[in-house]
């Protein structure tokens, strides 16, 4: 068969294949479409659609059916593959943009804010369309999903209209001309696709963002997502920009390591951001101001609680976290400097002590060291003492942890399976 014939058969075959994969009239010579898909792929990673819309380890990508724990019950993510019946293949671009940026489905019903549209509203239309373009190229999966698995009365979707009225402010991100391009890019990512506030911004009792306390820390799924502003007490004030970049890119830095829900976030999302975007995020977060509230009073070293905590620390914790509380860079977190340890809400610290934990493995940092569980060894009083100690022993101060808090956490953790 002559060369040219074979060549043209090849082209036709590729075109046919691409057509059947849902690219429609996208001949592979259309550069703009390719760029848009590439950009969409990257933005989908930034927005981490994969994490919520895929069952971990075993689910088909973006086919939904993942059970997501919210304060109001468990909701199930929808199928966003291009399947016409059970996915979003039949949606128009406009309908997709409305869903992502306004929380409205094609039939007019409202999405629950487990889908972080209050953050995604900041995204530009162009970016959302890019994500759409990417999502049309992935494998369509026929998987019907019943999303609304919330218990009564939260399963009354109509109520979301009222919620939106109270808590949802629609609006694309507007650059602040007084700030650098880098800062603005960071703000755009953090407020928009990165949807950091979905976890890190405190919520009202109905689950709406407390805007004035943006990114100051919030409980979720049995953890406390800490303050990620530039606050020196509880936030990232002591971190350099390089520390933030290292954390997001590798899951580790000289101070701490990503664990729990953030481990998944780093593995699926931020470890794949490009370096410029990571730097932009670091710039933005570091610029967020100090808290207005007072720093905690330091605990005197001679207090019974501090002395007990010191004994436990020396005998047990120092084997990894060091006699000086500084740990080993990139291996054992520095308790002296970790914002997770010093958060005013000690839920995460208590959880790690009681249950143990494993930090994330990324291609750059594959070690993923683990921490053992101390629940069987330390009673509530002792856990409270050692946490109070590590929050106060080395130049930084944090509120003491009460034995009753530990007790309450211990009970809640018993019911958890993760």
């Amino acid at each position: 068969m002559p060369e040219t014939d074979r060549h043209s058969i090849l082209i036709c075959t590729i075109a046919a294949w691409m057509g059947s994969a849902g690219l429609g009239d996208a001949a592979n010579t259309d550069q703009q479409k390719f760029d848009q898909i590439e950009k969409g792929r990257y933005l989908a990673t930034v927005a981490d659609c994969f994490a919520c819309h895929t069952v971990p380890d075993v689910g088909k990508p973006y086919a939904g059916a993942r059970a997501i724990e919210t304060p109001f019950g468990v909701i199930t993510s929808s199928n966003i593959t291009p399947d016409a019946d059970t996915g979003i293949g039949a949606w128009s671009d406009e309908q997709f943009v409305d869903a992502v940026r306004r929380g409205v489905r094609p039939d007019g019903s409202r999405l629950y804010p487990a889908m972080p549209f209050p953050s995604y509203t900041r995204m530009s239309r162009e970016d959302v369309l890019a994500i759409r373009a990417y999502l049309t190229t992935i494998e369509p999966v026929h998987q019907p999903v019943k999303s609304n698995t919330l218990p009564f009365p939260f399963n009354i979707r109509e109520a979301m209209r009222a919620w939106d009225a109270l808590y949802f402010t629609e609006g694309e991100f507007q650059a602040d001309k007084r700030q650098s391009e880098t800062w603005n890019r960071g703000a755009y990512l953090v407020q928009g696709a990165g949807h950091c506030g979905a976890c890190h911004t405190p919520k009202s009792f109905l689950g709406g963002d407390k805007i004035s306390e943006g990114l100051r820390g919030s409980p979720l799924q049995g953890w406390f997502a800490p303050d990620i502003t530039g606050d020196t007490g509880e936030g990232l004030g002591r971190w350099s920009e390089g520390d933030i970049v290292s954390y997001l890119k590798t899951g580790h830095n000289r101070i701490t390591a990503a664990t729990g829900p953030m481990a998944e976030e780093v593995a699926d999302s931020t470890s794949r951001y490009n370096d410029d975007d990571l730097k932009a995020i670091a710039t933005y977060l570091k610029s967020l101001p100090q808290r207005a509230d007072q720093a905690a009073t330091p605990q005197p070293e001679s207090s019974p609680v501090m002395r007990a905590g010191q004994a436990i620390y020396r005998d047990q914790c120092s084997a990894c976290h060091g006699l000086d509380g500084n740990g080993i860079a990139m291996l054992f977190p520095s308790l002296a400097k970790s914002s997770l340890v010093h958060a005013s809400d000690p839920t995460s610290a208590i959880r790690l002590v009681l249950r143990g934990g494993r930090s994330v493995a990324t291609p750059a940092e594959p070690t993923a060291p683990g921490m053992p569980s101390f629940a069987w060894q330390l009673n509530d009083e002792q856990v409270a003492a050692v946490l109070t100690y590590v929050r106060n022993a080395w130049l930084t101060t944090g509120t003491p942890v009460a034995a009753s808090t530990v007790s309450a956490n211990r009970n809640q953790l018993r019911a958890r399976s993760d």
Binding site: A319, C320, L331, T367, A368, G370, M371
Partner: protein
Amino acid sequence: MPRKLPKKDVVIIGLGWTGSIMANELTDEGLDVIAIERGPWRDAPTQFPPNYVQDELRYRIRHELFLRPDQLTFTFRNKMDQTALPIRDWGSFMPPNGVGGGGVHWNAETWRFLPSDFVLRSHLTERYGASFLPEDMTIQDWGVTYDDLEPHYDAFEYLCGTSGTAGNLRGRIQDGGNPFEGPRSRPYPTPAQKQPFSHTLFAKAARDLGYKPFPQPSGNLSQAYVNPLGLRLGPCTYCGFCEWFGCGNYSKASPQTTILPLLLRKSNFSGRDQSEVIRIDLDRSRSHATGVTFVDTGGVEWEQPADLVILSAYTMFNVQLLLHSGIGAPYDPTANKGVIGRNFTHQTISSVNGFFDNKKFNFNPFIASGAIGMCIDEFNGDNFDHGPHGFVGGGYVGQVQTGGRPIQTTHVPPGTPKWGAAWKNAVRDNYLSTVTPGTGVHGSFYSYRDVYLDLDPTYKDRLGRPLMRMTIDFHDNELKQNAFLTDKFAEIIQAMGAHTVDKLYRKGPYDATEYQTTHLNGGAIMGTDPSTSAINRYLQSWDVPNLFVMGASAFPQNSGYNPTGTVAALAYWAAAAIRGQYLKNPGPLVHA
């Protein structure tokens, strides 16, 4: 009828040190690899965390991390005319079990053998004449040289982050290191560990006596380290719970800390735990392996087909599997024919306890690591003239005390009653001021015709298979060697200032109840002659070319050093041969 699993490129039997090294090398080559491990998954935060691993009774006395004899054991006798009886509870050695194998609970003493060790028969014959060697001594040259293995020793040391002081850098002798070691291409990756009091005192006494002491090379790291795979280890904190115990704070080199986190992320690798391989399957020609058969915890048999089989199950289980699979001619000591089971060796260990004035000496023995210690190598291998002494071989001696765990290190001076008030007072008075090196004399164990492995005629395991039988006793050569070394060691302990020195010579007969390291070797030895070796110089089976057998089962005789460094170097050497030659052209790499 075993159920058949989907085929893999490579099946690895046992996921310990060599299994992990081979898995990492062969997955890097792009092959689809499965490792099958008899024991459980093991990891620091869950199986040996630093909040409950410091338990001498549980891990040292009841040996919880080790194989249960009921799952598999051996029978033992000293001489061929005796009836072998089962080792019902471990004594003289302690076989590993579980992911990480012995690499989890070893001491991390990371030595290289001497250049002369690899050409032992040639070397000794040349120096002393053939008649100097006992007639029934079956030592052999290995088929590889120290120079062949040097880059691979280096690779393992850098994988582990081994802490040490080089003694011979590319031929130039370095102060503070072992002047007798073979030349190394570059320094150790991290500096030697800091030494506690008694170890430092030993070094001073040794130096005063004219020796050249040096720190034992240690896989318990002196500082934080990132290895070439990107895996991180922390600094050892001298907890004194090393051998028998897993390391709780990522500071001991093990497969878990140096390979597995990366290996497990590779999509072309998977492992199965709690699955015991019972047979290497062969095709009709019996010269080609088709895969392995294993049983799970429910007793169900499964078949894992593969193109390449790596046997890395530890010396004893390697040999046993070869015997049970009918690979290689079993050794018959009377006819002096056959290869599987021949040249079986252990280690010749003794110690000297030193008792000091407790008003002047406080050793804090509990501050130690597994590979701490100051050693001298003047009496190892052929580093000295054996002519006047009438034996060959030797070992390092050193104050290598690895901890002060009280059940085992509450020694009393000789002559003290074993119980009662006198005992109690002696323990109280001596604990902090006693030097108890443990394996302070670490001597070679050469091979003999009547020291071997075969299958027992009577006893069976839980699956109905015959147990392997050990026939092993000390020969005069090793006992003479040990007496000589022990006396030299005792001189140094005395010179440290001990008021009483208790010399615990190694005496025959070989006692299966007294622990003497788990350095069992041989039984499937490497060599250049298929009539006296089971595998060729690349660890490839002479009989089944798509089978490679790792581990100390390859050693034709044991040297006066801990074996793991050499075991790992051989694995890297074999991996290089597989990657560079075998895969391009599967078949025998050596034509005898």
